[in-house]
């Protein structure tokens, strides 16, 4: 009961809700991405793209919100830029359509999931 109350209490914070939605979308996008690699059809592609783009938008909003709340520090700017670079790198590889590069896409997807886990972690209210 206490755990459920704690869980519900976490969602009273706007950035926690945003990060959580981002995590859910990133997970959906990751699973559909893995299915795409296996050669599944256009449904997977639509889910992958749709969820991925919304998650990227949420990433941007969270970054702006962080700068507005805590200001610009080297670590903070560096962290958000690194996150954006991982996303950009993944997009580049997908769009390159090179078979060799494609080997690393699932690793990048896993990195993105880890990044979202960290984003959820830092947005859990204390």
């Amino acid at each position: 009961m206490k755990a459920i109350l704690e869980l519900l209490n976490a969602f009273t914070n706007f950035t926690t809700v945003l990060a959580s939605i981002g995590m859910i979308l990133a997970t959906s996008s990751f699973i559909s991405g893995l299915q795409m690699v296996k050669g599944k059809g256009r449904v997977e592609r639509k889910i992958h793209r749709g969820n991925g783009f919304i998650a990227f938008g949420i990433f941007g909003i969270l970054a702006i919100s962080s700068f507005a709340t805590y200001g610009l520090s080297l670590w903070s700017v560096g962290g958000w830029i690194t996150g954006a670079l991982v996303i950009a790198c993944k997009l580049l590889i997908v769009h390159s359509r090179s078979r060799r590069a494609f080997k690393y896409v699932s690793w990048l997807g896993a990195t993105l999931i880890t990044m979202w886990l960290y984003l959820v972690y830092i947005h859990i209210p204390l």
Binding site: A3, E6, L7, A10, S20, M23, I24, L25, A26, T27, S28, F30, I31, S32, R42, V43, E44, K46, I47, G50, N51, L117, V120, Y121, I122, I124, L126
Partner: protein, 275 residues
């Protein structure tokens, strides 16, 4: 008969006078004195100084037992250090001094510094953007409760050679070194504080014995609670990683999988209809 009457009258008058003299005066700032420091200097031991809301640009020095309190609380009564090389509030060798409901900022040394004092009470205050929030040097039997000490350049609370103090229900977050640094101090009770998001340790106990550290929250510091070169300290029931940190990510991944399956079913149904 007349002699008895005059004797009684004399006793009554003297007892009234005695009561008047021993009763603490209440001094109002800025009505009675423009600055808080003037009021402190003119106050007799045991007096109460009541301060209206506003920004007071001064460095306070308290060296006698008195009560300094604000009318409107810490959110609207600010002590801005006039000289940044001195603490915003300094309680020096005073016994039974009380500070309640002030904010203190702008000192490179400390928001409040107690030195060689005892039985000091600091409660309901906010110390932000100072060198350290609260500093205790050689202070004993004192109480720090319900204070906020955030975003200071070094420590939220620095305790050095200070024994038998109570530190309860304070918040020390986003300090750029440690939340609480307890050094060479014995027999203190550090209970139910929130010490989160500090750049280095949440609570550091160094070369100290017999302290009780219990029921504190120390989240998202580099290290939660560090005990170094110390023995005989009681560390119990502190929270460093709450259950939520584990439950929420698992719950969200589960929702992500469910969301994928739902979207897939919906889109498949949609394309079937069209096809």
């Amino acid at each position: 008969m007349a002699k008895a009457f005059w004797t009684t009258a004399l006793v009554l008058a003297s007892s009234l006078l005695w009561t008047d003299a021993s009763r603490a005066a209440i001094i109002h700032v800025p009505e009675d004195f423009k600055s808080i420091q003037q009021a402190i200097e003119m106050a007799a031991p045991g007096d109460e100084i009541v301060v209206k809301e506003g920004v007071y640009r001064e460095n306070l020095l308290i060296q006698k037992p008195l009560v300094l309190k604000s009318v409107a609380g810490a959110s609207s009564t600010l002590i801005q250090a006039a000289d940044e090389s001195r603490p915003s509030i300094k309680i020096d060798k005073a016994v039974n001094a009380t500070v309640t409901g002030f904010s203190a900022t702008g000192s490179l040394v400390a928001g409040v510094l107690t030195s060689g004092a005892s039985n000091v009470t600091i409660t309901g205050c906010q110390f932000t953007d100072n060198g350290s929030g609260m500093v205790m040097h050689g202070t004993s039997n004192s109480t720090l409760t319900d204070n906020i000490s955030n975003s200071n350049a070094q420590y939220g609370l620095y305790m050095e050679k200070s024994d038998n103090n109570r530190v309860e229900r304070n918040t020390a977050s986003l300090n750029r070194d440690k939340g609480f640094f307890i050094s060479n101090s014995d027999g203190n009770r550090v209970v139910a504080n929130n010490v989160n998001l500090n750049s280095w340790d949440g609570i550091m106990v160094y070369a100290s014995t017999g302290n009780i550290i219990t029921g504190n929250k120390t989240l998202r510091n580099t290290y939660g609670i560090v005990i170094s070169e110390s023995n005989g300290n009681e560390v119990s029931e502190n929270t460093t990683i709450p259950n939520l940190f584990l439950i929420l990510p698992i719950f969200l991944i589960y929702l992500g999988v469910v969301s994928y399956l739902l979207q897939k079913s919906l889109l498949k149904a949609l394309y079937k209809e069209r096809g």
